[in-house]
């Protein structure tokens, strides 16, 4: 099927997020305005105006009522999804990078960058049910990480927080006490900045993408390295299919190194790997710049990618894609090329 091109952002995309039902797609870009789209046909539903800087990440509550966004304007904002109304603004001393709601949506984890004299932090905020009760206070502040934290997410039952970032190390923290529980192995772990982190739908495992041209799959509870996916390009974005044994990797050479000669030279492909066999099974081309964001629809039937080129591309999988899975299950030794229309 032909991909749907969604042009609404004026600057490079930074993050994509589906709501739980998979009918809405939230996109963040460097152009200050997070946007919500119909995940089915790519129509633009609305925007969230109020940020004054690049928006790095967002998260949507389980009931799709609230959206939280983290921005380089040193705030994280809570929005009402349906109206686009700004509900609350958390102020920080440094750009906010990553944000995620905990189970139950009563907590959110927000990270801030190292900026001027400020060290990077991971902060936990209470999210009040009634917005009038909302405060700016942090329930927990974790410091002590060197280098930018690119992603911080909740572990199972909100008991832990998992961070990953510039120092190529994944850490698991106690979300109550702020104690460091586990650290990824320097040898087997990533060698360069971890650019992205995405959890499986049941939060049991997660995948990290790194500029060391690989993605790795970890167990959420024990931080055991399970799989490694090797590619030819720095990885900017990763996601795990909620329904199939596939993972998707996106990236490309640094935007500053992109030559103008041929877009194929940059390898701006979303690459699909078999999650278990670690083999590349296909790729989707189309972006004119590196891919910065990737997300599977929770129903597993489609995925979207956001690029440095400012486009969001929405792809519905062909029937081939689902057949491929069958092939692997019946252990057919067959190497298949590109299988999704691109």
């Amino acid at each position: 099927m032909r991909p749907i091109l969604m042009k609404g952002h004026e600057r490079p995309l930074t993050f994509l997020r589906y709501n739980r039902d998979g009918d809405l797609l939230f996109s963040c870009a460097k152009d200050h305005t997070p946007t919500v789209w119909y995940a089915d046909n790519g129509d633009r539903l609305g925007t969230y105006r109020g940020h004054n800087g690049a928006v790095w990440t967002c998260d949507v509550s389980r009931d799709s009522a609230r959206l939280i966004t983290a921005s380089a304007d040193q705030t994280a904002k809570l929005w009402e999804v349906s109206t686009g109304k700004e509900l609350f603004s958390f102020r920080f001393d440094a750009p906010a990078r990553s944000v995620e709601f905990a189970i139950g949506d009563a907590l959110a984890v927000i990270t801030t960058d190292n900026f001027m004299d400020h060290v990077p932090t991971v902060q936990v905020k209470h999210i009040a049910e009634d917005i009038d009760d909302q405060t700016d206070e942090s329930a927990l502040v974790i410091t002590g990480i060197k280098g930018r934290i690119n992603r911080a997410v909740w572990g199972p039952l909100n008991r832990t927080i998992i961070t990953a970032g510039e120092d190529a190390t994944i850490r698991i923290w106690d979300s109550e006490t702020g104690q460091l529980l586990k650290e990824s192995d320097k040898e087997s772990g990533h060698q360069k900045t971890i650019s992205s982190l995405s959890k499986s739908s049941d939060w049991s495992h997660f995948i990290t993408g790194s500029l060391d041209k690989s993605a790795k799959l970890w167990d959420t509870r024990t931080l055991t390295l399970i799989k490694t996916y090797v590619t030819e390009r720095p990885v900017n974005a990763v996601d795990i299919s909620p329904t199939h044994d596939t993972v998707v990797l996106g990236g490309g050479q640094d935007a500053m190194n992109v030559t103008m000669t041929d877009r194929r030279a940059g390898k701006f492909e979303a690459k699909f790997y078999h999650k278990i066999l670690q083999e590349e099974i296909g790729g989707v081309k189309g972006h004119f710049g590196p891919i910065n964001a990737l997300a599977f629809n929770p129903d597993g039937q489609s995925f979207s990618s956001g690029g440095e080129d400012g486009y969001v591309r929405l792809h519905h999988f062909d029937s081939d894609y689902f057949n491929i899975k069958m092939l692997f299950e019946t252990q057919l030794v067959q190497f298949l090329g590109s299988y999704v229309a691109g």
Binding site: P156, D219, D245, D262, A265, K275, I276, L277, Q331, V333
Partner: protein, 720 residues
């Protein structure tokens, strides 16, 4: 020496550490056995295996000039001045560096003198330049290095018969040809690592044979028959090979080595270095050595100024066109030749001297090439005298030096010669000026070497103005292909030198229109050709069967820079070398265009298939095999199938194992997930759970008034 530590120092240190020195029994320390304590150093091998390094004697910058006139004291100063004049042209003579001894009895000179230069190079040059210099009829200088004198003095006066050593069989240098699976080898260079692999197409992966870090200083090269792998170093070249992989077989000393070249029969190795002048009076010098590959002996050396070696030809690496010496006479390595000003110097390898002691005189010759199989030289002389003397292509037979055939050509701008690899045909691509002299057009002169009187045919393209982008003969065959045309999508035409009714006219087979190709790669076995679009075309590949005149497959190796057929014509390698920063690595294809496998390597410099010597089968036998191919191939098909089955069996096992491991993870996660269910519900304020089926979908349409606002829009009615 910095290592010498004083006793006080030791004592002080011991005090610092709190060690009682008197209690230490030095004799009780047991050092590991051996001089090196069992720790091998990297250059150990060199130290022991080689002759002790030659020490600078300090006399290598002194020459002895003999056969000077014997003069009385009154003429001494005059003679000295003459000598000084001659020798100071070549280099700087040291202060008091000229000494002409005088016989104390007769007060006359002895007729020789010593000259000390600043550097050995100058001395060497002086020896070369003035040995044999005629001062007058009876005084012909005999110049030698003082060092050499010592060497010559040691030559015994009486002849002793050479000791004949019993013959010991050398190792089998062709072992790699006996590979059971008849695979081919290739060598790659990536980063600092040089690796030799088998191309195992059945396993869809290369199999490592040998690897070595820093094996070569600049590049590597196979000998033409694949016996040796040559590495290039600052100190010279080395060849590797043998029964057990890659052992050093021989070294060839040549300081500052730049280029190497093997003779086609790989008996000789030509090495080349160029030396920048150290002061403005010196000339840029080049040194060439020709070694015997098997014995390592220098057979002949050539030294001279770079200018002597840059005449004619296109200027290649560092000012000279390489190879300087072109080998002729087929695999026998009988002749080699070099282009000079108005001459072609042909040498023979029996004596390593000029054939008939003189060069072949050809006024204004600019290019020549050997027939790949026969001792025939084709040479090209451009137009002279403003068109009064026509340009000329002629074929000269060696050693007789008689002209076999010549063809005059008019208004020629350039000329290229292409020999077919079995020496049957020669194609001369001639670029001629149009009448206005503003542009050129191209035609071909085709020589049939093996026929009586060597008939020549002229071939012109249908569209005369087409530019020729590439030309290539079918190896061992009678066909050739041309890429021609202007613009981004040129045409490819195939011609044959044979026709059905044996009229012996060249005829066109077909033209493929508008191809994305700029290079032609014939399979070494003929019949198949790969049309490649390198550079601007980003690595487009088209596998074409010339027998059937059909395209077998198309492919792409993005950004490919190099394309190489394996010596048997079964596989094709395409590579992106480090001229590009990205995508470095190589891919292997089958002859019919099936992509087999791909290997990525950063900083990828070289990929070279190991050549094979020509088949020993007679043409009849070869034909018999190709006729009964079905019978022979049965065995291999079975092997292929076995290998494939084994592979898929292994693969299947691996996959099953991976799947099982994964399943155990999933089972664990499921269990944990279940266990945590109640906690999750709690966190969600008792909301059912996260499972899909636990909530029912109800279609509810909710309309919500988000905002109502009135805006007064001003319409400007005057405007359209």
């Amino acid at each position: 020496m910095a290592l010498a530590i004083s006793m006080e120092g030791i004592e002080a240190r011991a005090r610092e550490l709190g060690v009682d020195l008197s209690a230490v029994d030095l004799d009780s320390i047991a050092l590991p056995a051996g001089e090196d304590f069992g720790i091998l150093s990297d250059d150990e091998e060199v130290l022991h295996s080689e002759d002790p390094p030659e020490l600078e004697m300090g006399l290598s910058n002194i020459i002895v000039v003999d056969n000077l006139p014997v003069v009385p004291p009154e003429k001494f100063d005059k003679l000295e001045n003459v000598i000084r004049k001659i020798y100071s042209q070549i280099g700087v003579i040291k202060e008091n560096g000229l000494w002409m001894p005088v016989n104390p009895e007769t007060k006359k000179t002895y007729g020789y003198c010593f000259i000390e230069y600043n550097t050995p190079q100058e001395a060497e040059l002086a020896r070369e330049k003035t040995n044999g210099y005629k001062l007058d009829k009876s005084h012909i200088f005999a110049v030698n290095l003082l060092d050499d004198f010592e060497k010559y003095m040691k030559v015994p006066d009486t002849w002793t018969p050479a000791e004949i050593k019993p013959y010991t069989a050398g190792e089998n240098l062709l072992k790699w040809l006996t590979d059971e699976k008849a695979r081919d080898q290739f060598v790659i260079r990536a980063g600092t690592l040089t690796e030799v692999y088998w191309n195992d197409a059945r396993k869809l992966a290369p199999e490592l044979v040998f690897q070595k870090q820093y094996w070569t200083d600049s590049f590597i090269q196979w000998s033409p028959l694949g016996t040796y792998l040559a590495t290039v170093h600052r100190q010279g070249s080395q060849v590797w090979g043998g029964e057990n992989g890659f052992e050093r077989l021989m070294r060839f000393a040549h300081p500052m080595l730049k280029m190497i070249d093997f003779s086609p029969g790989e008996r000789y190795l030509v090495t080349y270095s160029s030396h920048e002048p150290s002061n403005p009076r010196d000339t840029h010098r080049v040194v060439l050595n020709i070694f015997d590959v098997r014995t390592g002996k220098v057979m002949r050396d050539f030294k001279g100024s770079a200018d002597d070696y840059t005449t004619g030809g296109n200027i290649g690496v560092s000012g000279v066109s390489w190879p300087i010496f072109r080998w002729g006479g087929g695999k026998d390595d009988k002749y080699f030749a070099r282009l000079g000003k108005n001459i072609i110097s042909v040498y023979e390898t029996n004596t390593f001297s000029l054939l008939d002691k003189k060069s072949l005189k050809v006024e204004n010759v600019v290019d020549f090439s050997w027939s790949p199989t026969d001792p025939i030289i084709s040479l090209f002389v451009p137009e002279m005298g403003g068109g009064n003397q026509p340009a000329r292509v002629s074929l000269v037979q060696i050693p007789g030096k008689e002209e076999l055939r010549q063809k005059n050509l008019f208004s020629v701008s350039d000329c290229k010669m292409y020999w077919q690899n079995s020496g049957e045909y020669l194609a001369v691509q001639v670029d001629r000026y149009t009448k206005t002299k503003k542009s050129t057009y191209t035609g071909f002169e085709l020589f049939r070497i093996k026929e009586r009187d060597i008939p020549i045919e002229v071939l012109e393209l249908e569209n005369k103005n087409d530019k020729i982008i590439a030309f290539a003969w079918e190896p061992k065959g009678h066909r050739f292909a041309i890429i021609h045309g202007d613009g981004p999508r040129p045409d490819v035409s195939f011609y044959t030198m044979r026709t059905a009714n044996n009229t012996n006219r060249v005829s066109k087979l077909t033209t493929l229109k508008a191809k994305q190709a700029n290079a032609l790669y014939w399979s070494p076995a003929g019949r198949f050709v790969v049309l490649a679009g390198l550079k601007g075309f980003n690595g487009q590949l088209e596998f074409y069967n010339v027998d059937e005149l059909e395209t077998m497959a198309t492919g792409e190796h993005f950004m490919a820079t190099d394309i190489m057929w394996d010596p048997t014509g079964r596989y094709l390698a395409t590579a992106v070398t480090s001229v590009h920063e990205m995508e470095n690595g190589f891919q292997i294809w089958s002859f019919n265009g099936k992509h087999l496998y791909k290997v990525s390597k950063d900083h990828f410099y070289q990929f070279i298939w190991r050549p094979r010597p020509p088949s020993l089968l007679t043409p009849e036998k070869e034909e018999e095999i190709s006729r009964n191919l079905k019978k022979y191939s049965k065995k291999y098909e079975q092997e292929d199938q076995d290998a494939y089955n084994q592979l898929s069996e292994q693969d299947r096992k691996r996959r099953t194992q991976l799947q099982e491991e994964w399943d155990s993870w999933v089972a664990k996660w499921k269990q944990m997930h279940e266990e945590e269910r109640s906690y999750r519900m709690e966190l969600r304020d008792g909301e059912a759970s996260d499972e899909e089926e636990e909530y029912e979908a109800k279609e509810v349409e909710v309309e919500e008034v988000v905002d109502v606002c009135q805006e007064v829009l001003a319409f400007d009615l005057d405007q359209e």
